[in-house]
Amino acid sequence: MEMRKDYFADVRQDGLHEIGQARPRLDSPGHVTGKTAYFADRNFPGMLHLKMVRSPHHHARIRSIDTSEADKHPGVVRVLTAKDVPHNVYTILILIQVGPEDETVLADGKVRWKGEAVVAVLAETERAAQEGAAKVKVDYEFLPAVFDMEEALKPGAPLVNEYHGQNYYLYDSGECRKVRFGDVDAGFAQADHILEQSYQSSPIEHAPTETTGCVVAPEGNDRFTCYTNTQAMFFTLDNTSIILQMPGSKLHFVGGTVGGGFGGKVDVIVEPIAILGAKLTGRPVSFVYTREEEMQISSPRAAEMVVIKDGVMKDGRIVARKVTGYTDAGAYSRHSPYGTQKGAAHYPGPYTIPNVWIDTYCVYTNRTPSSAMRGFGVTIGDFALEVQMDKLARLIGMDPLEFRFINAYRDGDMKAHRQPTEGAALIECMQEASRVANWPVAGKYMAMSSYKKGA
């Protein structure tokens, strides 16, 4: 690959020791010899296997749970329900003051999505745990469910999550995260053309080759060692400490080796219940998602809907942008209030627009809780924004790349969420893309710079 040295020549340093060099990955020797220790490579004598009884319904009240047959099943050692979990209602981001706690470790009185964990069965073998789980009887009373974000926001929609009290996350700014910059109505009034489009996406599963799981070993000193493939070690440790009401000093988490995560392993799902199982039985516990659970139960990327309205001038300047974004959190918050907030800051994209109005809603539905995945909160937004940019360019008969040069943010520009732009390199990237892709643009664009003095 060619290293271009003419961009940012005044600030670049060439005495770098690492950038541009091929360095061996430190983890590769373990990978190629099969010696890398993933969590499931830990095996302890007497290890129990945990299987979860899951809700077959999208939304239902639990009238009763009968575990008596499961308790008696050969090989079953212990059956856990909500009452066994010291602090059963939690939310991951409580650690950074994003509440309320809204999710149960094991369902208590109600299930809010199909697949929700209700009862945990610990047994001598995977098979006995599976058979024991099949013998748990749960009596459900169906409740009306809502799967569509617009339906969920209508008055009279079934209430998904009582801990919120309404089907959206209540930000300190109200029912949505808001960005207000300039005067968007004046911008639209001034615009030569206005284009409003809506964009939608489905949930996306990460499908890592290694499924979510952990192996827990009780230690002689009253501590628990948890071998896990979490991508969020300290979130997991601290949330486990809260859920089990156990000081962090009792918990020893071993991880960092993840067989593919892509954001799908940042939720705190398997570790607390597995450690609780180990505590209550005094035995090592393995809780590993099956492939089916990985695909159906683990959080996907949220489904999103984005409505973008832009006002554009014939000369190519975008003068107003109004965005309404909806993120489908599913039944519980997990990381979605954060992703939704990130979207609000992001929606102007890497463009400088003088008048911006953004509302982003984090919506609760009776779907599988969504959470993190590669750039969540902005990835779907970027898809929508760049398709919108192409449509706008076509609307005014302008080359789509030149259209982006006209609107590109540059150092010193104030972004809509009040962060001044610094270190911008969009123009230089587009110049190089123009060359490499053989997509020529007018000379004045090739002469532009992210530094305004070079304009």
Partner: protein
């Protein structure tokens, strides 16, 4: 449940175990014998992470019953390096940056080994075909293909 005896050769060493009838070779290798180099990604024969070599054939150990392997010669990635010296495939996977999370790597190397044992100078298409049963969700396929081609080139140069 009734236990059955199994005996086979694993990476040149003789192994004998009593296992429950119906145990997969993957479970027997990982949980009984302690060779954790084959990985369980799906346990339904679709991801290839559990690939091993049985009597020279590439096999999915998650779909192979251990009791059917009596007398077999089984090879896994854990047996590729000899006396601390990496196998040319292992060297090439390192040099070509062909690992990311590493979970598919042992299965990929088994598939590649069977290809190169039979086809010392494979085309790119041969390599793609040989690896087509192995999923890499980090989607690092291109460096893996390059690593296999690199191994073939190195082998033919050494032979020349």
């Amino acid at each position: 449940m009734a236990k059955v005896p199994v005996e086979f050769t694993l990476n040149g060493s003789e192994k004998a175990e009593f296992i429950e009838s119906g145990t997969t070779l993957l479970h027997a290798l990982r949980d009984k014998i302690g060779d954790t180099s084959p990985k369980g990604g799906c346990h339904q024969g679709t991801c290839g992470a559990c690939s091993v070599i049985i009597d020279g054939e590439l096999r999915l150990s998650c779909l192979t019953l251990a009791e059917t392997c009596n007398g077999a010669d089984i090879k896994t990635t854990a047996g590729l390096a000899k006396g601390g010296v990496l196998h040319p495939l292992q060297r090439a996977f390192l040099d070509a940056f062909a690992t990311q999370c590493g979970f598919c790597t042992p299965g990929m190397m088994m598939a590649a080994k069977v290809l190169l044992d039979r086809t010392p100078n494979p085309s790119r298409d041969d390599v793609v075909e040989a690896l087509s049963g192995n999923i890499c969700r980090c989607t690092g396929y291109e460096p893996i293909i390059q690593a296999v081609l690199l191994t073939a080139r190195a082998n033919s140069q050494n032979a020349a």
